[in-house]
């Protein structure tokens, strides 16, 4: 994104023109006869000189205003946050439109996270990584909108597998802040991955796992979710209403927020030196034109 670091430096142009109009060089005012003839001569040239003067001033002021290209989305490795969203899309999420509510809240959450890498994993009968860690929020949101309960099989809940798989996306990560948000409304009943292995993998990559159980008590296993959260340094939440779920995501957002903004990395590319070179060239040109015989 192109912008100026100090745009108010352009006010100097006004100062220049004001000076040009009101503060003329006193020393060289003189009476000279036969000026109409001089005017005829002057109009034939001198423009190059005048233009080079204006361009030099303009380039100097522009350099002072410091044109930059800001790139907020590029984040230095290891500094930004990396978040993995793990969503339960088993058949039971159809009940009372849980999936719709979750999608809309997660969407908000994603939009609120600026400058973080996000990943999305879903699970049902099996688990898969829908979007690996990326800055590309638009494709993430696009994919999120296409999710529906049952896309990963409608009958079972591969909870541990999902945790295991989504932990593995951090394998090559160098970030210090790795977060996973695991949302489920059921209990693991596939048994493909033991819980110990799943937790161990999350610990291995230093992933903080926030767990959220949605639905009535008995739908999910709070003990297991509590364990996962506890073992990885996260927090376990229970949500039985839309408002509660919103609160939880807000809470997670704010828990991890302050540090995230502190770590926000803005890549600035400076261009003032080109304008300075330009100013130098025009000034040189101006001097040459002024002194040429």
């Amino acid at each position: 994104m192109f912008s100026f670091e100090y745009p108010y430096a352009f006010a100097l142009v006004l100062l220049f023109f004001a000076g040009f109009k009101w503060f003329k060089m006193r020393s060289s005012i003189l009476i000279f006869p036969n000026l109409p003839l001089m005017q005829q001569v002057e109009h034939k040239g001198g423009y190059a000189r005048l233009i080079s003067k204006y361009l030099a001033i303009f380039a100097l002021v522009t350099a002072l205003a410091s044109p930059i290209i800001k790139d907020e989305t590029i984040i230095q490795h290891g500094k930004g946050y990396e978040l993995s969203l793990i969503l339960d899309v088993s058949g039971s999420m159809h009940e009372s439109n849980k999936i719709g509510i979750v999608k809309s809240i997660v969407q908000e959450f994603i939009e609120a996270r600026k400058g973080d890498k996000l990943a999305l994993s879903v699970f049902g009968d099996f688990a898969y990584v829908a979007v690996p860690l990326t800055f590309d929020k638009s494709s993430l949101l696009d994919l999120l909108s296409r999710l529906d309960a049952g896309v990963a099989g409608a009958h079972q809940t591969a909870l541990y597998e999902a945790l295991y798989l989504s932990s593995n996306i951090f394998k090559t990560s160098t970030s210090k802040n790795k977060i996973a948000i695991l949302l489920t409304d059921g209990m693991d009943n596939t048994g493909t991955i033991p819980i110990d292995v799943a937790i161990h993998t999350a610990q291995k990559y230093h992933i903080k796992v926030y767990t959220i159980g949605v639905g009535g008590s008995g739908d999910y296993n709070p003990t297991v979710l509590q364990t996962i959260a506890k073992e990885t340094g996260g927090i376990f939440f229970e949500a039985n209403s839309k408002q509660r779920l919103e609160e939880i995501y807000h809470q997670i957002d704010s828990l991890e927020k302050s540090e995230i903004t502190a770590d926000k990395y803005i890549k600035k590319e400076y261009f003032f030196q080109y304008f300075l070179i330009g100013a130098l060239v025009f000034m040189g040109l101006y001097m040459i034109l002024s002194n040429k015989e």
Binding site: L30, P33, V41, K44
Partner: protein
């Protein structure tokens, strides 16, 4: 600026020095001009009989002269803002010196002197006089008038002289002759001399760089950024302009000379009248 007195003293000294004897005239060839020889008729003055011709032809012949002895001399001082300029001294001063020399010589010879200061209108007119006392007033007027914001209008000058100066005169026009010079109507009945006063700097200005220049004719300021080549072009244009003016002088048989502010005008004036 020189005082009126200094100019007068200098004028007198110079003119006497260059013209030894009792003839401080710079118009020597003028005046009682010999015109022709004609056969004596009754009533002609015997004093004017040309004896050589009479002896050769064996019948009396007389010399005829231009009848008027006392000339009418009109000195025209062209007032424009541009005469308020000069590096050695103001053009106005040089012009005052010229005026002083011409007026002094005229009065000393006993001719009638009228003086006109003209811009686009009459600034000051001194009616024909033979009194030498007028000299001081005229030099004073030339030195003290304020030329700024004035421009010479040659058409108006032609009209003025056609209407006001009825008598055939010897005219001296002093000015810096910028713009489209036109003295054509003056030459119809009069003998005209043009004395161009200039400063070297205005013809070859060394004004590289940025300057705010004031046109003394209008007192308008304008900014200039001038390069050497532009100044050369200016000098060239100036030459062209002067060449046009001089062509105009030649066409109308106006004798002319050019003086610079860093020189005394007397020598060149003598040359002008003798040549």
């Amino acid at each position: 600026m020189q005082t009126q007195k200094a100019i007068l003293v200098k004028t007198k000294r110079k003119i006497f020095a260059l013209h030894s004897g009792n003839h401080p005239s710079i118009f020597e060839s003028r005046g009682i001009d010999f015109r022709e020889i004609k056969e004596y008729t009754f009533g002609d003055e015997i004093r004017k009989i040309n004896w050589k011709v009479t002896a050769r032809e064996q019948s009396p012949y007389v010399n005829r002269f231009n009848e008027e002895r006392a000339l009418n001399v009109l000195v025209v001082f062209l007032v424009s803002g541009s005469i308020y300029f000069g590096t050695q001294k103001l053009k106005q001063e040089s012009m005052a010196e010229v005026l002083s020399a011409l007026c002094f010589a005229t009065l000393n010879q006993g001719d009638y002197l009228s003086t006109l200061f003209f811009s686009d209108k009459e600034e000051f007119f001194h009616a024909p006089t033979k009194q030498t006392g007028a000299l001081e007033r005229l030099v004073d007027a030339a030195l003290t008038l304020n030329p700024l914001s004035k421009t010479v209008d040659y058409t108006a000058l032609n009209h003025y002289i056609m209407n006001r100066i009825k008598r055939k005169s010897l005219m001296f026009v002093i000015g810096d002759f910028y713009g489209d010079v036109d003295l054509s109507a003056l030459t119809a009945r009069n003998e005209v001399y043009a004395i161009m006063v200039r400063d070297h700097f205005e013809e070859f200005p060394k004004l590289q760089g940025e300057h705010t220049l004031i046109d003394p004719n209008t007192m308008r300021q304008s900014s200039f950024s001038l390069s050497g080549s532009q100044l050369k072009a200016y000098a060239k244009k100036m030459e062209e302009q002067d060449a046009r003016t001089i062509a105009h002088f030649k066409k109308h048989k106006i004798k002319h000379t050019k003086l610079y502010t860093d020189e005394e005008p007397y020598e060149k004036l003598f040359e002008l009248f003798r040549g």
